[in-house]
């Protein structure tokens, strides 16, 4: 085990901590903070109480704080301690807890906003921009050296940050890597809504995650089940998409990742997305066959709003129900593209009214004009009204 380590960053809402193991001399804390005048004592107390709770009695710490909140300070201290000392149990959980209920399996997932798991500043306000889901990412956006610290930060953020109505998804590292299992052990007790399984290529990957998640749910007596969302990013994954989607009742959606997919098939990623057209279509078919949602990849040019809208319209035409988002500015254009037209809303209202009327009359079959209303029509109408309501188009 190392004797000294640095965690965190000299960045807004974060801190850079250097912690060194000592065998005597108690705790030596050298604190510099941009908010020393207003929170100096509280920061010091948080650091010391975290060390105490983790059983550290002798250590030297240098802290350069840039306005980190308590749950971030605790995460950084705990990450430092975990790197130098063995830590039993769940660690130190933040005092502030945001209460959550399970999100419905078929909730709207038009936008899923990616947030790097090692950046507390971006997480702080992520719930304000109206994304249907936020993804606290432990995989691609976190360097290997930062993964352990990010894991603690993501856990604390799940507990202490108010993400509003957004579904809280954590993208773990693949279980095949050295990080994946540790990710689950750290974040599952903090009850995320959903786990995003990256580079998913087979049903077995889903089952393996499900098994570990279920065991952790039982061990920590979680209040509700965590959903799973496989991310298909390879040719093999596309070809196995249906098996992946139907591997577990916990799967709520299949997501497509174009960046890794194009690399996998040896193609260049283009704005038009011709290279992934077939794969995306297959993914939609697989998801729909398994009765789960299909969610499209991200559009990576933040400045190109027209391109984003075009890409979203194409995704909608293919049958996707959402897109990945890398900047909050992309949320509104995507939601606008998903908004049903007034004609579609009116038709959906007529369908539901006709159905209710048929139920009232005790009729087995409902019809609108000369057309019979069957289950898919009803499902589509309900979806349209759900969207219209989410957008404030109807009460």
């Amino acid at each position: 085990m190392a004797e000294k380590i640095q965690v965190g960053r000299s960045d807004k809402s974060d801190l850079l901590l250097t912690i060194e193991r000592r065998t005597r001399g108690g705790i030596r804390l050298d604190l510099v903070s941009s908010v020393a005048g207003t929170f100096g004592q509280q920061i010091r107390a948080t650091i010391l109480s975290t060390l105490e709770a983790l059983g550290v009695r002798h250590a030297s710490l240098t802290v350069d704080d840039r306005g980190a909140l308590d749950h971030v300070i605790q995460a950084r201290v705990e990450a430092g301690v975990r790197a130098l000392w063995p830590v039993e149990g769940l660690g130190v959980w933040p005092e502030r807890r945001i209460k959550r209920r399970q999100v419905p399996k078929d909730r709207l997932r038009r936008t899923r906003l990616y947030l790097p798991g090692n950046n507390p500043d971006l997480m702080l306000n992520a719930g304000l921009f109206g994304a249907d889901s936020v993804i606290l990412d432990l995989e691609d956006s976190v360097a290997p050296a930062d993964k352990a610290a990010a894991r603690v930060l993501v856990r604390n953020s799940l507990l202490a940050v108010d993400f509003g109505a957004a579904e809280r998804i954590v993208r773990i590292n693949p279980l095949a890597t050295e990080f994946g299992a540790a990710d689950l052990e750290m974040v599952v007790p903090a009850q995320p809504d959903t786990i995003l399984i990256p580079k998913c290529e087979a049903a077995e990957s889903v089952l393996e995650v499900e098994e570990r998640v279920a065991a952790l749910e039982r061990e920590h007596r979680l209040r509700y089940q965590i959903w799973l969302m496989p991310l298909i990013e390879s040719a093999k994954g596309v070809l196995n998409a249906y098996q992946i989607a139907s591997a577990s009742q916990r799967v709520v959606a299949l997501c497509f990742g174009a960046e890794d997919f194009t690399a996998d098939i040896g193609a260049e990623r283009t704005v038009e997305g011709k290279e992934s057209f077939v794969a995306r279509s297959l993914l939609v078919l697989a998801a729909k066959a398994a009765r789960v949602q299909a969610i499209d990849t991200v559009f990576s040019d933040v400045a190109d709003v027209d391109g984003l809208v075009k890409s979203t319209e194409e995704a909608i035409a293919l049958g996707f129900e959402g897109k990945g988002v890398i900047h909050p500015a992309q949320i509104e254009p995507i939601h606008r593209a998903f908004a049903p037209t007034p004609e579609r809303i009116a038709h959906a209202q007529q369908v539901i009214a006709a159905l209710e009327e048929a139920e009232r009359r005790g009729a087995g079959v409902a019809s609108l004009g000369t057309k019979m209303i069957d289950a898919p029509v009803v499902a589509r109408a309900k979806r349209t009204l759900q969207l219209a309501k989410a957008l404030g188009l109807i009460d």
């Binding site: 809402s13 929170f39 306005g67 909140l69 308590d70 304000l128």
Partner: protein, 516 residues
């Protein structure tokens, strides 16, 4: 020292260093009624050649002595050379106890701190920012400083509260007679309005230029008939820091959300559709975004503003060029687009604090502005606003035009709920710059608070989908995130007075005991 409680509950002195002070009584309680101060009258025959060879000659000619008051204006912003140039020369002459009266200071004026420490400068009246404010907080000034708004500074000069012995006016273009403007030359900065009072009321007026042009220099923002001497120097400032090529809109999603809420509030309240619609917003990232969002709303609804109020920026200029406003009424230019538009577009009008901000007049247009969007360091549960000190007690900012612009029909404060862990909504502000009675709306990314006094606004926004909440809910949200901040520790010694625009004392700043 006798202290009395003023109308916002602050203990303020009634007299300081021989000057009688009036406590703040309310935003519109003071009715003025005095007569204006007068400048010394001289004969034109004595002014056949005002052009002097050097700044030293001008200082000699002005007869600057210990204890005198010298003034400057801030249109050259962080690129200004003139304040340091003049003050260094005065210091080299061994002068002491000078009062410096700038309309604003910037970080480039840090050398003033040395002059303060050596006793060359006794105090600052007008504005303190950054390093000079920090020195004031630490009690380095010999006597008590006075902070005033732009309109308050004009009023103080006009009413005789601030007597300027010698005014130094940096001019991007001037002729040998002293006519000057800010729109031509390598140091073009836009309007020169903040120096108008200095030119009218100071005993001696020196125009300092790096661009001497043949008579007549027109437009003449400063008129030669009010100028004693003209000096040409190599450079009055660094053009790159006087104005930026472009002012840039914020990219922060949180700040964009705040700006979006503010603009939506103007639409949802119906104000945008009222006759004589006008608004004012500064050059900060949120303000620029607000202007852009307003432009989109106005274009969609076919609304044309009567005027918009600068500081001018590219975004303001775009409004004018797109026909979304009839005029820009401009006090200062923040980017090159603003300077160029002021020079070239007759509907871009230069203003000064007499017509825009002064409270002791027969009317100023601050009160005609429908919506004013302003920033703040703190807002409290009574809607009192602090723009001078930070929550940790450091005096780091001047007032700018805050208390004047807050006289608009609807004053909106835009601020993040938490800035670098520090809550912006607090139980009591460290320093009151503007009374809560002038503040109508506080817009944060997590909610919007309407001053309960504005029942009309609350009524008009009843059907709005904006997240309108009581201000104490915003306060609780902030504290819930950050924890309760520690209060700063001050000594009893007053180091600066916060003067309201009418000349009354709204608060006093004490010497800070810094925390390590």
């Amino acid at each position: 020292m006798d202290l009395v409680e003023n109308a916002v509950g602050r203990l303020v002195p009634t007299e300081i260093e021989g000057r009688k002070l009036r406590p703040f009584q309310g935003a519109h309680a003071d009715k003025g009624g005095g007569r204006t101060a007068g400048a010394l009258i001289r004969a034109a025959s004595d002014y056949r050649n005002k052009l002097l060879k050097s700044l030293d000659d001008a200082i000699d000619a002005c007869g600057i002595k210990d204890g005198m008051t010298v003034s400057f204006h801030h249109h050259l912003r962080d690129g200004d050379y003139v304040v340091n140039m003049v003050m260094d020369k005065l210091a080299r002459r061994g002068l002491k106890d000078l009062v410096v009266a700038p309309s604003a200071l910037f970080p480039c004026h840090e050398p003033l701190v040395r002059h303060i420490e050596k006793g060359v400068v006794r105090r600052v009246e007008g504005s303190m920012n950054g390093p000079v404010g920090r020195a004031c907080s630490l009690g380095k000034m010999k006597s008590v400083c006075v902070l005033r708004s732009h309109g308050g500074r004009y009023r103080a000069i006009q009413d005789g509260d601030l007597h300027i012995d010698v005014a130094f006016i940096a001019a991007p273009a001037a002729d040998a007679h002293g006519n000057a403007n800010g729109v031509y030359g390598k140091s073009a900065c836009g309007p020169l309005g903040f120096a108008l009072a200095d030119s009218l009321y100071a005993d001696k007026v020196v125009v300092v230029t790096d661009n001497l042009v043949p008579f007549p220099c027109y437009p003449w923002s400063i008129q030669g008939g009010n100028v004693d001497y003209v000096v040409q120097v190599d450079a009055i400032g660094d053009p790159a820091r006087i104005v930026s090529g472009t002012t840039v809109i914020t990219r922060s999603p949180t700040r964009l959300l705040i700006a979006k809420y503010a603009a939506q509030l103007v639409v949802d309240s119906g104000i945008m559709h009222e006759p004589h619609f006008s608004f004012q917003a500064g050059a900060g990232g949120v303000s620029l975004a607000f202007v852009q969002f307003m432009a989109e709303h106005m274009a969609r609804a076919g609304v044309v503003a009567d005027f918009v109020r600068g500081g001018s920026t590219q975004y303001m200029v775009d409004l004018l060029n797109q026909g979304l406003t009839r005029y820009i009424l401009d006090g200062q230019s923040f980017d090159l687009a603003g300077v160029q538009s002021l020079r070239d577009n007759p509907r871009h009008i230069e203003t000064n604090p007499f017509v825009s901000y002064n409270y002791h007049t027969k009317g100023c247009f601050a009160q005609m502005v429908k919506v004013s969007v302003l920033g703040a360091t703190e807002i409290d549960l009574d809607f009192n606003v602090n723009v001078n000190t930070h929550s940790d007690g450091w005096l780091l900012h001047g007032i700018g035009g805050f208390t004047d612009a807050a006289d608009a029909e609807v004053t909106i404060i835009t601020a993040p709920l938490v800035r670098g862990r520090v809550p912006i909504i607090v139980d009591k502000v460290v320093t009151v710059t503007a009374p809560g009675e002038m503040i109508d709306v506080v817009v944060t990314e997590r909610g919007i608070a309407i001053n309960p006094r504005r029942k009309d606004l609350l009524q008009r926004l009843k059907r709005s989908s904006l997240p309108i909440v009581p201000i104490d809910k915003l306060y609780r949200m902030a504290i819930d995130m950050t924890g309760q901040p520690e209060k700063p520790t001050f000594t009893e010694r007053i180091v600066a007075l916060i003067e309201f625009r009418d000349g009354t004392i709204i608060d006093a700043v004490r010497q800070l005991v810094p925390k390590t």
